[in-house]
């Protein structure tokens, strides 16, 4: 006997993501999801970004790592509320994990939450965790072929950060090819070239984040 079902398989995950969106909306919190390969510089980027924003906005971090609290230790110096999530092998953070992590953050006292996802260009892109924007972080030593190799991430993202731009001359990264390929995959995806270690481009990145915070109703908050 055959039964027609027509049921979305990730409906549960999507429902939790919708709950997260409602929760964030209620508190006027913007949440962005940083996705990249291991070693592209997400943690360094946060180390530099948090102090640039912490005077104007109340920040929080959900730090995803397969194992260890190494990244969390590095970010602790920034003195923003942080939840560490160890996935013990799992390749991405799912919406339930994010929902639980948010409960541990002071939601009444936050404007912007960063998720540092598990280093992986495939799986984290596939899951909606209720974020305002997925951000693809790519670094020049990884090569210019990533948009074509991992189109899903670059399609789902609202911004691409091209990190380690200071190394451009010493690595095999063809900027023209990168932009050409990216345009084919997602013509409307904006790119900001940055060097998290040298500081290049970070002002522009911070401006982008501020626009996202404003969109989440920051002005309407009673402070």
């Amino acid at each position: 006997m055959e039964f027609k079902v027509l049921q979305k398989i990730l409906a549960e995950e999507d429902n939790v993501a919708a709950d997260i969106r409602r929760l964030l909306q209620k508190h006027h919190i913007a949440m962005v999801n940083l996705i990249s390969s291991p070693g592209s510089g997400k943690t360094t980027l946060l180390e530099k970004t948090l102090p640039m924003l912490s005077k104007r906005y109340r920040l929080g971090v959900i730090e995803g790592d397969v194992e260890t609290d190494r990244d969390a230790q590095r970010l602790r110096k920034c003195e923003v509320p942080m939840v560490l999530v160890n996935t013990h092998g799992a390749c991405h953070l799912n919406s339930m994990t994010i929902f639980n992590a948010l409960q541990e953050l002071p939601l009444h006292d936050l404007d912007l939450v960063f998720i540092e996802n598990i280093g992986n260009l495939v799986c984290p892109a596939e899951f909606d965790v209720g974020e305002a924007a997925k951000i693809a972080v790519l670094s020049t030593p990884e090569g210019d072929d990533k948009p074509l190799k991992y189109p899903f991430l670059f399609r789902e993202s609202r911004l691409c950060l091209l990190n380690k731009i200071d190394l451009l001359e010493s690595v095999d990264f063809n900027r023209k090819r990168f932009y050409g390929d990216l345009k084919a995959v997602n013509p409307l995806l904006p790119v900001i070239e940055i060097s998290a270690t040298k500081g290049e481009g970070l002002e522009q990145w911070v401006e982008w984040l501020e626009a996202v915070v404003q969109q989440s109703g920051f002005e309407s908050k009673k402070r």
Partner: protein
């Protein structure tokens, strides 16, 4: 590896349905997977073999049907096939497009023995 997460949800849905419809053994599952989903067919099968063990779907065949991707263009207002996974209208070259088909991840049907 996220194929395992997808399959775990699938198996749970099938178990729930089987309980509700009194299916004692599932023979076949039909899954619709959009072309734009980054899901590997082999990995899905492997995950299914592992996740369906000791469930009503243990001996079931997982049939995967790919759904072609389609875009709707806001410039020329037409619908066209999405070529090479590119978010660009194949008819007018416009980039203000919406994916109207190709992101599916749907359990279409379940075939099995009923009490």
């Amino acid at each position: 590896m996220h194929e395992l997460t997808v399959i775990a949800h699938l198996v749970r849905s099938v178990e729930e349905l089987s309980k509700e419809k009194k299916i004692t053994r599932v023979h076949k599952l039909k899954l619709l997977v959009g072309e734009l989903q980054a899901l590997n067919g082999e990995a899905l099968q492997l995950a299914f073999a592992a996740a369906s063990k000791n469930t009503v779907a243990e001996e079931a065949v997982l049939e995967i049907e790919r759904v072609a991707a389609q875009l709707s263009c806001e410039d020329c207002l037409q619908t066209s096939a999405c070529v090479d996974e590119q978010l660009q209208c194949a008819l007018c070259g416009g980039v203000r497009v919406r994916v109207t088909q190709g992101k599916e991840l749907i359990l279409e049907s379940v075939e099995g023995e009923v009490l």
